[in-house]
């Protein structure tokens, strides 16, 4: 510490003792800090890369050359309509003639909403396809996602995320609304 070097007369004739200051500095705190910073930089460099969800859309190309006769079993299709205010309406099968327990229903996003239905239906349709003669392996539920004009980008990503979570074998984003579906999504 700061000390005034007062002259003490020097009569005592003692040795002038040079004070030995300790050469060692405690580095513990410094090392702590350095490791903290290392951890921070290590984590942020790899985590800051944005995540991405890959989305493949069917070729738009000449629709006329496409075969339009591909018949899909209505028991396998589930249609999800995305409405405004984060609302979902879904039905299983045809709108006019829905499958048992597949009438148009409201749902919400997330764990306790549409996911339960999706999990249930992925399983039941897979069983149905396995039992049906003439079906290929890998056949299962087909989900048709129809985002309305009022749905947001978040809704799209959320529903695609649900598809990934529940392992829906086939899903597609379709933009055409039939008048009945339009009515369904617009009614409150």
């Amino acid at each position: 510490m700061a000390e005034l070097n007062t002259e003490s007369g020097g009569d005592k004739g003692g040795k002038v003792r040079s004070k030995k200051s300790n050469a060692k500095v405690d580095l513990t705190a410094m090392v702590d800090l350095a490791f903290l910073l290392i951890t921070f930089f290590m984590l942020t460099t790899s985590l800051s890369k944005p995540q991405a969800m890959n989305l493949g859309l069917p070729d738009k190309g000449d629709e006329k050359t496409d075969e339009k006769d591909i018949k899909v079993d209505q028991k396998r299709t589930m249609t999800i309509l995305l409405g405004d205010d984060n609302k979902i309406k879904w039905f299983h099968g045809l709108l006019e003639a829905p499958e048992p327990n597949g009438k148009p229903t409201d749902a919400t996003y997330g764990k306790n909403g549409i996911r339960k239905e999706l999990v249930k239906r992925v399983k039941s349709v897979a069983e149905y396809c396995a039992a049906k003669p003439g079906s290929k392996p890998g056949d299962g539920l087909i989900v048709i996602i129809k985002p309305s004009k009022k749905s947001t980008y978040r809704n799209i990503v959320d529903i695609l995320d649900e598809m990934a979570i529940t392992d829906v074998p086939t899903y597609a984003i379709v933009n055409d609304f039939t008048p009945e579906e339009k009515k369904l999504i617009e009614e409150k």
Binding site: Q51, N54, I156, A164
Partner: protein, 211 residues
């Protein structure tokens, strides 16, 4: 009687070497970490549980966000990775729109990560400092209407430039604001699909595990 001498061991360890190593590592990580650049169009990306990362090269990012100046309209920003690709893209765009950019402007443009102005105003943007340029709301967005679809040309020319320089296909990432309505996103998707780009990435944030 012999005294039992307790040998007193010092509890402090020499930290010097450890300190050296840790600071070496720290320096390494600081230098390799890339500084995050300010984004001219801040968007709030939706989150998902998907864990795939975006590719780092040969990537074009189309940012779709709300226009700060005008209500209910969108502004679209465009950016490609790779300086050579950026330069070549600008050359191709200049040919297309019969504009000319000096060599210096080209060099400057190669450093710009993402931009959102009509090409006619591009040289004005290039001349600005990046802090001024990247102020939110300063750049209006790239025109993408049917009358003047510059975004389409940017996409097209960036693809040509990538295949010329890197001999690879350009990947596309769409970075949209979570609150953006679907038609705006669809417009960009359609634009990509018109060029037979059917595969693209949606940039998302990370979501908690219990979702």
């Amino acid at each position: 009687m012999a005294k039992i001498k307790m040998s007193k061991k010092s509890t402090s360890i020499d930290m010097t070497a450890m300190c050296d190593v840790s600071f070496l590592l720290l320096t390494f990580f600081i230098l390799t970490a890339t500084a995050k650049q300010q984004e001219p169009l801040p968007v709030d990306t939706p989150s998902s549980t998907v864990k795939t990362k975006l590719p780092e090269t040969d990537l074009a990012t189309i940012t779709i966000g709300k226009d700060v100046n005008a209500k209910d309209s969108i502004s679209i920003f465009f950016g490609v990775t790779g300086r050579d690709v950026r330069k070549r893209t600008l050359e191709l765009m200049a040919q297309k729109y019969k504009l000319s950019f000096s060599e210096k402007e080209m060099e400057q443009f190669a450093l710009i990560e993402s931009f959102g102005v009509p090409i006619q105003n591009l040289s004005q943007i290039i001349a600005m400092k990046s802090s001024d340029r990247n102020k939110p709301g300063f750049q209006p967005g790239i025109p993408a209407d049917s009358t003047d679809n510059q975004l389409k040309e940017w996409i097209y020319n960036a693809r040509i430039a990538t295949s010329e320089i890197a001999d690879k296909d350009l990947n596309f990432a769409i970075k949209g604001d979570a609150k953006q309505e679907y038609p705006a996103i669809k417009k960009v998707m359609d634009m990509l699909q018109d060029q037979k780009v059917n595969q693209f990435d949606l940039v998302t944030g990370l979501r908690g595990k219990d979702y």
